[in-house]
């Protein structure tokens, strides 16, 4: 098993573990944790897409390093991952802020609480 396969396998399993969490958990904090696990999985997947076995750092320092250009790791996925990490951070911070208010208004962290209220309103 090559390193690339290990990366791909672990990233897809992280994505599916996270998806399972989002779909089955009721606690909002746990749902947000699962979302973060999905994001980690995606980041690993993107980096794996640009992975080169025994690759070089993609920085041209001298005319010598031009010779290694075939062996260089693709830098674009890494730039994408940096951006997606920042977005993930923003989502988590914002969602946790909302969660605090959800706890204050509902008195619980269960995602079902707001549904029960709507059923009551309709009747």
């Amino acid at each position: 098993m090559t390193m690339l396969n290990i990366f791909l396998l672990s990233s897809t399993s992280l994505i599916f573990i996270g998806l399972y969490g989002v779909l089955t958990r009721k606690n909002i904090v746990k749902i947000l944790l699962s979302l973060n696990i999905i994001e980690t999985g995606i980041n690993l997947l993107l980096v794996a897409f640009g992975y080169v076995e025994n690759g070089e750092v993609p920085i041209l320092t001298s005319s010598e390093s031009l010779k290694n250009i075939v062996n260089m790791v693709d830098p674009v996925p890494q730039a994408l991952v940096l951006t997606s990490i920042v977005i993930g951070l923003g989502t988590t911070a914002f969602a946790l802020g909302l969660t605090i208010r959800y706890y204050k208004t509902h008195g619980t962290l269960s995602i079902d609480a707001s549904d029960e209220e709507e059923v009551m309103l309709n009747e």
Binding site: I42, I87, Y102
Partner: protein, 490 residues
């Protein structure tokens, strides 16, 4: 045309300045949005379209580019119009958080439409999700907080799938530029292509309010205030309709002809759209809360628009564009007036609004005109949309005939529930009724002007025919109208 970057930079700068502007916030937001609307109209009329703007001078596909075509700038004009209207109908004082997030939302929805880079599209769609979540949650009560957190979770899960799709596109084609992907799409293995399209559609469908992904819609409309409803429908919904034209009908088409590469996926999207129409209209039929009625009707119209785009022949796409414009105008009227009616009667149920139409005949008439246009009655703007849709579907495959039946049946259902509301507004009397507040004149004026626009388009569809034909032409011949603009030297 480098100045088109102002469409994104100025609201972002405004969002930052709003933190310090204290009382002048609302004025600043209105000035910025008015500037953007006038600026985008100037771009549309300048005659320099279509053009590709290379940011920082880096040529695509290496750098990020913005693509300004009659289609995208037309959508920008609609989005900014909705933004202005939503600012005018804001009720009461709002703090800087409201205007700051509103300006971020404005920048991001303009960015979705302008960008020519698929990863940039992902970033902007995440930004709209943040903006609209914060705006929904702004009232700080139980309903709005629950709606906001559900939308945020759903939108970020969906965006995760979109990002996986983008990653696979980069791995297989080595590019992130929409025009570049569109020109290389035939090189892809069919199974990989299928996977990419499914992953990307999952991400987009949440924003498009389509059936299995739309449990957030009624909650969000109910939780938000009237101005946030106009933003949700007019800015986010319009940007979503644009997404369909760009991602589905430009990127994944056979030689840029407006037909989806994979017939099975095209048919499944049509089935989803028809289910959306059916489910939402039936749900709206029994609904007591007027905002929920409008939210479900909004979902149904979105399904109609996507059905029209997916049929793929010229008449249907022209019809879909008429529907985009008609739905935009009519729903804006209804949301503006609903905000007034709810404030007047103090209740969200339409049964409590007896006789408001008698007290304010102009507002009541505008409401009726908007709902007649949504039903597709002749001499109102929505008629030309449904007519084109049905003509296109007749010329399509036998499968489309089912679609025609569903469109006609749901038009009747829609007619019944809107006429029930109109009946309550006009015919039922409640003479000793005390209203909580007066209707504001400027809201009624906005609604009346938009209602006149609906009748003008309905009686004389030639008013916007040339604009719609150029947009349709852009979709049907996207190789010459989109890809060649981004890569003129190929």
């Amino acid at each position: 045309m480098n100045s088109s970057l102002f469409l994104i930079i100025i609201p972002l700068m405004g969002a930052f300045i709003a933190l310090f502007a204290k009382k002048a916030n609302r004025l600043m937001a209105i000035v910025i949005t008015l500037f953007m609307e006038i600026f985008s109209i100037i771009i549309y009329l300048s005659g320099k379209l279509p053009v590709s703007v290379e940011i920082g001078g880096w040529q695509p596909p290496y750098g990020i580019n913005f693509v300004l075509t009659p289609l995208s700038v037309g959508f920008i004009i609609l989005i900014n119009l909705a933004a202005i209207i939503s600012l005018f109908i804001i009720r009461g004082e709002k703090s800087y958080q409201f205007y700051s997030t509103y300006l971020v939302l404005l920048a991001a929805s303009n960015g979705i439409v302008l960008t020519g880079d698929i990863f940039n599209f992902y970033i902007f769609s995440e930004l709209t999700a943040f903006g609209i979540t914060a705006l929904i949650a702004y009232p700080k009560d139980r309903k709005s907080t629950g709606a906001a957190i559900k939308y945020l979770i759903l939108a970020s899960t969906a965006a995760a799938f979109l990002l996986i799709g983008i990653g696979i596109v980069y791995k297989t084609l080595g590019t992130l530029n929409i025009a570049d992907i569109a020109s290389k799409i035939s090189l892809l293995d069919p199974l990989t292509l299928e996977l990419i399209i499914i992953l990307m559609l999952t991400g987009i469908f949440v924003e498009l309010e389509l059936f299995p992904f739309n449990m957030w819609v009624p909650k969000a409309y109910l939780g938000g205030t009237a101005s946030v409803n106009v933003m949700l429908h007019g800015m986010l919904g319009t940007a979503g309709a644009y997404t369909i034209t760009r991602i589905l009908l430009t990127m994944f088409t056979v030689d840029g002809s407006g037909l989806l590469v994979n017939v099975n996926i095209a048919n499944s999207v049509i089935v989803i759209a028809l289910l959306t129409i059916l489910v939402s209209e039936i749900a709206a039929f029994n609904e007591k809360k007027i905002k929920k009625v409008l939210a479900f009707s909004s979902m149904g119209q979105m399904g109609l628009i996507i059905f029209g785009f997916m049929i793929g022949n010229e008449q249907a796409i022209v019809g879909a564009f008429y529907l985009v414009v008609a739905n935009f105008v009519a729903k804006t009227i209804l949301f503006v007036l609903t905000g007034e009616f709810i404030a007047m009667s103090g209740s969200g149920n339409w049964e409590d609004m007896k006789g408001i139409g008698r007290k304010h005949p102009v507002a009541g008439l505008a409401f009726v005109i908007g709902s007649l246009s949504l039903m597709g009655v002749p001499f109102f703007a929505g008629f030309w949309g449904k007519l084109g849709l049905i003509q296109g579907a007749i010329n399509g495959s036998a499968f489309m005939v089912v679609g025609i039946v569903i469109v006609l049946i749901t038009a009747i259902i829609e007619g019944i529930y809107f006429l029930k509301i109109a009946h309550t507004l006009f015919l039922e009397k409640d003479s000793d009724r005390e209203y909580l507040s007066k209707a504001r004149v400027h809201s009624i004026v906005i609604a009346a002007i938009l209602a006149l626009a609906i009748i003008a388009i309905g009686v004389k569809p030639g008013l916007i025919e040339s604009n719609i034909n150029s947009a349709t032409d852009e979709i049907l011949n996207s190789t010459s109208n989109y890809i060649d603009i981004v890569f003129p030297r190929r």
